[in-house]
Symmetry: C2
DNA sequence: TATTGTTATACTCTATAACTATA
DNA sequence: TATAGTTATAGAGTATAACAATA
């Protein structure tokens, strides 16, 4: 099994999931990526835009573009962070929370489908392997690694 | 381990790989997705645009857009398929093959990095799990499945 | 009738670079 | 000096819909 086959299977799995997610989220006029933002914000605490970007794997410019769209729709709000006035805390609005709950419910079948062919330990294994993959690919690795 | 955590780890792994691939391919002025097209075409036989789309997980309009860009660069050529004159066979040009070989070589380190933290059986397991994931998400599953 | 590919069009995500303001 | 976010800009990938040619 080659690294290239791994790359391709990763691509095909991600794109399939992304399309199916898009199809569900389109009901509310948002995209799969925007749903990822809502989901990240729904997990309790508020985040700065940078922190949000780190969580969802998008850079600050991309994050801003998505937030502007979501703000326009009334799903998120950004308030100045008192402690560090360069930063802005991002949070779901009441409407954002409500919309997210609805979309979460409507995507329930999809999440079930996703793990339907996997035993519980297989899901755990898969997540673990994917995370170690992501760690291997962190940009800081690239330069000739020499640590004493 | 929840389905949502699986979805997120899949997203983060794919995006990390995509970015790293983009960085390598930028040397030749192409994108990670265009490299995927070249790789698919390099595997020997020529494909129709539809077949190509199926392999790389993109729809026919997207495929066309990418092929137009690659054709403009002189990396691929499309010739009428005699047997079915609606279709067009896509193939790498000489320059396309040469460029692909160079890029393949330059992305060697990246592929090594990708599997560096994985034992060989783990890579095989991962590919197998990802494929079964993709299969679970095939769009035909969605409607209330009732087959006699 | 169904399929392959094209045309026209639009939108989101993505990224770079230069900038402001805060730290 | 470095960081958080913005502005301006551009490009790629994506998708939908209507269409032509062919099967």
């Amino acid at each position: 099994m080659t690294a290239h086959e791994l790359a391709m299977s990763l691509r095909l799995a991600y794109l399939a999931l992304h399309r199916r997610t898009d199809a569900v989220m389109a009901q509310a006029g948002i995209t799969a990526d925007q749903f990822v933002v809502l989901a990240a914000l729904s997990e309790g605490m508020t985040l700065t835009q940078s922190e949000l970007g780190e969580r969802i794997g998008s850079d600050r410019n991309t994050v801003r573009a998505m937030l502007v769209l979501l703000e326009r729709r009334g799903f998120v709000e950004r308030t100045p962070q008192p402690l560090d006035r360069r930063a802005r805390r991002v949070a779901l609005t009441k409407e954002g929370r409500s919309t997210f709950r609805t979309l979460w419910r409507k995507s329930d079948t999809l999440r079930q489908e996703l793990v339907t062919s996997l035993a519980p330990e297989q899901t755990a294994t898969l997540v673990q392997l994917l995370r170690s993959l992501t760690a291997s690919l962190s940009p800081a690795d690239t330069p000739a690694t020499s640590s004493p």
